[in-house]
């Protein structure tokens, strides 16, 4: 019955149900809030990428000639703060989680629509503080705000930036809270936990980390701010305070924050692998529970950031072992995705290219993480470009590839239109090549001993740095391409129809773009997720 009018847009949908700026700024529709987030985080991605561009340009030549050392310190600090707190942490949960968590469980909205809108406003206020800190002269502490430098020594806008991050944190707490309650209480009839798409499992695990970790960051930054203003001594060794305590508290959040960034991408990849191999996910339960395991283990490994900070050998050994353990649930996912590909009918559409890229890059990032979890080796490569390369393989090669995969997969659902597939494939390849060219040389640089956070370096490191900067240029082009063809598709793209990928999730059972309340009638779920074999059999 839907095939007849499959290739025209529905008459009313969430985008044209209301018009005007008020209808957007006061909306409680989770789909519109997702779009608000999409626009804001794209803006901040552009800002963060600009800082990265300056960094790579400075490092093209050995002497510090483009920017002064002070400016360089500010560049990498603001690159980190903007990319982590204003882009990566909200990215997939706030955009695709907001849009698709209710749709995937067959609900009309999140449990608390007003709190959802509030979380966007809180994000915006935090982002404005950060922007003020940037435009008023920047911050130079590194995104980690280490004390006592941040509380006593630095004379940049630490306070404003810390308040900005503090406020933005509450936005992710509210989003996480909303997801937890929604997934517990709003599932459609028949949608049992074991029928939930894996994206929901990973979103749920992410929400748990948001809710449990972010408050600790909040209180830590509050202590930094209060200490800076009132000259207290809680983290200042001159008064008997302990800077290592700050590091403990900071990493108690900021290590799990890595899983806030990567877990949603893992969820996306599970969706993509199933849809583009037309195969149910191998070992569904293991993949689902490994998300929870990552969330739990993720809270027990923060000490591996502090192996050279003077923590005791015994606690370092425990943290090292626990850090190795967290590789197990991650490996379970990678093996199960690979097993899903086996005998699947793999089609290499653009989203799938990102998913496959994710698996490769995440594996490299994860395995080099094991190097860093080893006590002996970490002393050698700590604070070198090896660390930079490692976490960019996770955060960019992993989290960002997942984000790009998600936007390509769900774009037709969100906008009702298809983008140009050839350009999209080209962009995916450009991003993959550019990324590797940027960051693989940094592994070698770090291994050879080039330290992070310096604007000048000895001439023998130049060849690899030139490669890296060249890669960053390619990567930049790779990011601009989707911006162009996705925006063009809004006007010129072909009508997508409700289910262009013939995917099985509930979000594809409703028109594209979806109506304001998602479903005309509450769906009743009878099939397991990813019932592609069954669908193939029905289609003949």
């Amino acid at each position: 019955m839907e095939t007849a009018d499959a290739l025209s847009l529905p008459k009313t949908h969430y985008l044209n149900a209301e018009y005007g700026i008020r209808s957007w700024l006061l909306t409680t529709d989770h789909k519109r809030i997702a779009i608000l987030y999409l626009v804001s985080i794209t803006f901040f991605f552009a800002i963060g990428a600009t800082f990265a561009g300056v960094i790579r340009l400075e490092l093209l030549t050995p002497p510090g000639d483009l920017v002064s050392d002070d400016t360089y310190n500010k560049m990498f600090t603001m690159h980190g703060i903007v990319m982590i707190f204003l882009f990566l942490i909200p990215s997939i949960p706030a955009v695709f989680g907001n849009f698709f968590v209710p749709m995937m469980i067959g609900a009309r909205d999140l449990a608390f629509p007003k709190i959802n809108l509030l979380s966007w406003y809180v994000y915006v206020v935090g982002a404005i503080f950060t922007l003020v800190a940037i435009t008023a002269g920047g911050v130079d502490t590194g995104w980690t705000f280490y004390t006592p430098f941040s509380t006593v020594a630095s004379n940049t806008n630490v306070l404003t930036a810390a308040i900005g991050v503090f406020i933005a944190g509450f936005s992710s707490i509210l989003t996480g809270l909303n997801f937890i309650v929604t997934i517990h209480r709003m599932r459609a009839p028949g949608m049992t936990w074991m029928k939930m798409p894996l994206f929901l499992w990973s979103t749920y695990a992410t929400a748990l980390i948001n809710v449990l970790g972010t408050p600790v960051l909040a209180i830590t930054l509050l202590l930094v701010a209060v200490e800076r203003v009132f000259h207290l001594g809680v983290f200042n060794p001159a008064y008997g305070g302990d800077p290592v305590l700050f590091q403990h508290l900071f990493w108690f959040y900021s290590h799990p924050a890595v899983y806030i960034m990567i877990l949603p991408s893992m969820g996306v990849v599970s969706e993509l692998i199933a849809a583009f191999t037309r195969h149910s996910i191998f070992g569904y339960k293991m993949v689902a529970f490994s998300s929870l395991a990552i969330a739990v283990f993720g809270f027990l490994v923060w000490g591996h950031h502090m192996f050279v900070a003077g923590i005791s050998v015994y606690s370092a050994m425990i943290f090292s072992i626990l850090s190795f353990l967290v590789a197990i649930p991650s490996a379970i996912k990678v093996f199960n995705w690979s097993a899903t590909l086996y005998k699947g009918s793999v089609s290499l559409d653009a989203p799938m290219l990102y998913a496959l890229g994710f698996i490769g890059l995440f594996t490299v990032g994860g395995l080099t993480g094991l190097f860093l979890a080893s006590l002996g080796l970490d002393v050698q490569v700590h604070d070198t470009y090896f660390v930079i390369a490692h976490f960019h393989y996770i955060m960019v090669g992993g989290a960002l590839m997942g984000y790009l995969g998600a936007i390509h997969y769900w774009w037709p659902k969100m906008t009702g239109r298809l983008y140009n597939e050839i350009w999209a494939k080209l962009a995916a390849l450009t991003v993959f090549l550019g990324f590797n060219l940027t960051f693989f040389p940094q592994f070698i640089l770090g291994y050879l001993g080039m330290p992070r956070r310096y604007h000048a370096y000895p001439p023998e490191f130049q060849a690899l740095n030139v490669l890296s900067t060249a890669g960053a240029t390619v990567l930049g082009i790779g990011y601009l391409m989707p911006l162009a063809y996705l925006l063009l598709s809004l006007k010129f793209g072909k009508i997508a129809g409700p289910n262009p990928w013939k995917a099985t999730g509930l979000e594809w059972q409703t028109p594209s773009p979806p109506p304001t309340f998602n479903f005309d009638q509450t769906p009743i779920v009878t099939k397991p997720p990813y019932s592609y074999e069954q669908q193939e059999a029905e289609l003949g």
Binding site: V211, P215, L232, G233, Y239
Partner: protein
């Protein structure tokens, strides 16, 4: 649905199918029934309280570590606090939890005037608590116990004692901030009760406000012994 639709209306299925119009006045469009809405609201508050535990948890961790490091100084500094005032505040706050529980009980029975009365009593006790706290702060100020340049303390290391007082002011200050937020919630609940918003069937907001109020009390139940009583046995 067919019975409701008037015969003049064209049979446009999309328009006549309006299953999202709430059947009860307080049911929001995206919930199926009141039960689901109530469960979502209470679960939401519980999750929020968990974040609060972690929020204060960072401070408790910092306090514990310095207490283990500098036990004598923390003992001396702790004995400078005003024990009797702190004890009275504890009693006042526990009593306010009782009146809050009574308010929730009244709400469950749909007794509008009682809800307002007990909420008012809770608010009053909360204000007494904060006033006592303010007086304590004033005395700390007179005794030069405010951390910073003018900080003075007799008979122990002033730097470590300053860490104690820093944590004391941050922990009790954040607790007081939560009290003020609680006042806002209580006033809102009283206004809603006054406008006859609650009934025996629908009083979830009072219940959820109660959870919050009890939680803020519990934080104080931990703060009081940690800060005031750690070294009183000597």
């Amino acid at each position: 649905m067919a019975e409701v639709a008037s015969p003049q209306e064209p049979p446009t299925s999309h328009v006549s199918q309006t299953p999202h119009v709430p059947s009860e006045p307080h049911l929001m469009h995206h919930f199926d029934d009141m039960e689901q809405q109530r469960e979502a609201a209470t679960l939401g508050m519980w999750v929020f309280l968990i974040t609060e535990v972690l929020f204060f948890g960072g401070l408790f961790a910092a306090y514990m570590i310095y207490r283990v490091w500098y036990p004598t100084t923390f003992g001396v500094a702790s004995r400078q606090l005003h024990l009797y005032s702190g004890a009275v505040m504890t009693v006042v706050l526990i009593t306010s939890s009782l009146t809050m529980a009574m308010a929730v009980h009244a709400a469950a029975n749909g007794l509008r005037r009682r809800i307002m009365g007990f909420l008012g009593l809770t608010l009053f006790l909360g204000i007494v608590f904060v006033a006592l706290k303010g007086m304590e702060y004033y005395h700390e100020y007179l005794e030069h116990h405010i951390p910073g340049h003018g900080f003075q303390i007799e008979g122990t290391d002033p730097n470590h004692a300053q860490i104690f007082f820093s944590l004391y002011f941050i922990m009790t200050g954040l607790h007081a901030l939560h009290m003020f937020i609680g006042f806002g919630i209580l006033l809102t609940m009283m206004y809603m009760a006054w406008r006859n918003y609650f009934s025996a069937k629908w009083h979830t907001p009072v219940e959820v406000a109660g959870l919050y109020w009890h939680f803020v009390d519990i934080i104080w139940i931990f703060l009081f012994p940690l800060l005031y009583l750690v070294d009183r046995h000597r």
